[in-house]
């Protein structure tokens, strides 16, 4: 297991190296002078000189890359052109909001997706299976931001059921020790703040969770349908085990293996989808920050955020792979 973990972690090194190289060159293919790209159109000559000195744009290319990596290693991910704040600080500040809606979306997708997928997989060809499959296909083909708009229109503006903006009722004054509003509500003992924060997560969670839901449903369905025909399930039936035991220990434990990997892959989709969802629901998270940065061509923010998100995505997938090793003994040993 340890060797598997180490080897899997070692694979991260070339990925990180390649990622920094890509992002390094990305700034250089931007139209115009790289220093100007990093400083914006109203850059002063002094500012340009300063950036040139820091990133060494007048030096040979390998040295430039070295300086870039050195800055990264020192925690310097550049500064926003428009907001004049370090990209790292901005990312850390905005992350809790994005994690909250991502978790909400993932919970929705998993808690609904696995039972639906299981049912469909056990009843392939039945009318409910057909309905579930059609629904999941529709789920992946509705654009996230369009779905977000629809949800906002129906549930909030027409039915007045749920909040449509932000993370918290504007009239509420609360402390935010962690930045996770749901957690803050619980920690400060302010229960109404907690329920309010949860209510604000419902619609964004639904909008963001629909694609992962559809994908989890389909993978679970296919996996269950395949496992059901495995010889070991027949063995379990021949042992006269109770239906519940056969389902849990022999079908689901095997059927969930590919689902776990899928859930890891969904996290990338969530971060990307958050850009769209947060914008529609005016949630002050990583996604909206990125959206605003795109609008004003704030390249340092783009460069830094893409690096962060790719890093997090790689780390999460590493964790998923490692946990896969825990649940599948075949991986653990080989």
């Amino acid at each position: 297991m340890l060797r598997f973990a180490l080897r899997r972690m070692a694979l991260l090194v070339p990925t990180l190296f390649g990622l920094t190289v890509l992002l390094f060159f990305w700034v250089r293919i931007l139209p115009g002078d790289p220093a100007r790209s990093l400083l914006g159109q109203r850059a002063t000559p002094e500012g340009i000189a300063k950036v040139n000195e820091r990133y060494g744009f007048d030096q040979p290319i390998w040295k430039q890359y070295f300086l870039y990596v050195k800055a990264l290693a020192g925690g310097d991910f550049g500064s926003s052109i428009k907001l004049h704040e370090p990209v790292l600080d901005a990312f850390v500040n905005k992350l809790p909001a994005t994690i909250e809606i991502s978790v909400a979306a993932l919970l929705f997708a998993i808690l609904l997706g696995i039972p639906l997928g299981y049912y469909a997989g056990r009843h392939i060809g039945g009318w409910l299976d057909t309905t579930i499959v059609s629904g999941s296909l529709l789920g992946v083909t509705i654009p996230v931001f369009f779905l977000a708009l629809l949800l906002k229109y129906v549930f909030a503006l027409q039915l007045h059921l749920l909040p449509t903006q932000g993370r918290q009722d504007a009239r509420m004054t609360t402390d935010h020790p962690t930045g996770f509003y749901t957690l803050d509500g619980l920690l400060t003992g302010n229960f109404s703040a907690f329920t309010d924060a949860c209510a604000h997560l419902v619609l964004p969670g639904l909008a963001l969770g629909t694609i992962p839901l559809a994908i989890i449903v389909r993978i679970t369905r296919a996996s269950v349908a395949e496992v059901v025909h495995e010889d070991y399930v027949r063995t379990a039936e021949a042992k006269g085990l109770l239906r519940g035991t056969v389902n849990r220990r022999h079908i689901m434990r095997n059927a969930l293996l590919p689902v776990v990997t899928t859930i890891g892959l969904q996290l990338g989709l969530l971060f990307a989808g958050a850009t769209l969802t947060e914008t529609v629901f005016a949630i002050d998270g990583v996604g909206q920050y990125l959206f605003n940065a795109i609008g004003v061509r704030d390249y340092p923010v783009l460069q830094g955020f893409i690096l962060f998100i790719a890093l997090m995505y790689s780390l999460i997938n590493l964790l998923v792979d490692l946990s896969y090793g825990l649940i599948d003994p075949r991986v653990r040993v080989s």
Partner: protein, 310 residues
């Protein structure tokens, strides 16, 4: 749970029908086509696709107005948005353009960007995958590490970073969306290449002294065709959705003369309360078109899957 223990052994696997299975390539395709024609999913998908392509090609004929003819010059209250009426079947947008016309021309834009970007992804990805799977060794490692790096960036973010670097144009959109598809095709081609490298017909071709390139181009690639076509069909759906997403993020083509569904949603978004149809129609168009390609792609995948053959 009242479900019976499901199929434990299928009759086909218990030995009654293990000898009449034909495996020749031609009958695989013919069989797949036969299964496709029986599948309602495939028929609906194909119908949507045909309508979509026809609309895209015939947009100038079908559209009641000129695409870019914003009528605000002869309209007294340009900001007033009309719903459907006898003159404008689906109403007009805030600039006075006919919605139906815009939707029809939007199909054209989606088709062009979708097809070109998928082609870009397919050619680049298939090239890389063939290289990796065909040559193996260090070429394979190098290519796959590169693909891993691309995969470590979520595809929409990859597209965003490319589109942001290239500026607002349809071409930028195509390259951005196409690039995001490269890893998918690269992996697909590589794995089907590796799967077939050891298969009997390749060994047979090698023993006949055929050159490696000839084997790959003449034997291995044609056999990877099925999964590639399936993937391309599914990617067309993704591409159409991503065009809209990038437009929504302000990275699309902002030439007002070019109608584009994603941008129509964005501009309709402001008036969602008073005129929800402005965003609703293009959104539905995107969803239905993407659904059509997805249905077709999924049913092709099922039809070509040997496990599904009954």
């Amino acid at each position: 749970m009242t479900t019976p223990p499901d199929v434990l052994v299928s009759p086909a696997s218990s030995g009654d029908a293990d000898s009449s299975e034909s495996t020749s390539g031609e009958s695989l395709w013919r069989g797949a086509f036969k299964r496709l024609r029986r599948s309602p999913m495939a028929i609906i998908g194909a119908a949507i696709m045909v309508v979509f392509v026809a609309v895209a090609l015939l947009a100038p004929v079908l559209a009641p107005y000129e695409p870019a003819s914003t009528q605000w010059t002869n309209l007294s209250t340009p900001v007033f948005v009309q719903g459907s009426n006898s003159e404008h079947l689906l109403g007009i947008d805030r600039w006075g353009s006919d919605m139906l016309t815009q939707l029809l021309f939007g199909a054209r834009q989606s088709l062009i960007i979708g097809v070109v970007s998928t082609l870009i992804g397919l050619i680049a990805g298939a090239g890389l995958g063939t290289l990796a799977g065909g040559f193996g060794g260090w070429v394979d490692s190098l290519v796959m590490r590169f693909v891993d790096i691309l995969l470590s960036i979520p595809s929409l973010l990859l597209a965003i970073s490319i589109a942001a670097a290239m500026g607002k144009s349809s071409f930028a959109l195509m390259v951005a969306i196409g690039a995001a598809q490269v890893p998918i095709f690269a992996r697909l081609l590589r794995s089907s290449m590796l799967g077939q490298n050891r298969s009997d017909y390749v060994v047979a071709a090698e023993s006949l002294g055929l050159r490696r390139r000839t084997i790959i181009l003449g034997h291995v690639l044609p056999n990877s065709l099925g999964p590639t076509i399936v993937q391309a069909t599914l990617n067309l759906a993704t591409a159409i959705i991503e065009v809209a997403a990038l437009s929504f993020l302000g990275l699309g083509n902002d030439d007002p003369a070019v109608a584009e569904w994603g941008r129509m949603i964005v501009s309709g978004q402001d008036r969602f309360l008073v005129a929800p149809w402005l965003a609703f129609y293009p959104g539905v168009c995107i969803a239905i078109t993407a659904l059509g390609f997805t249905l077709l792609g999924e049913s092709m995948r099922e039809a070509l899957d040997p496990k599904q053959r009954r």
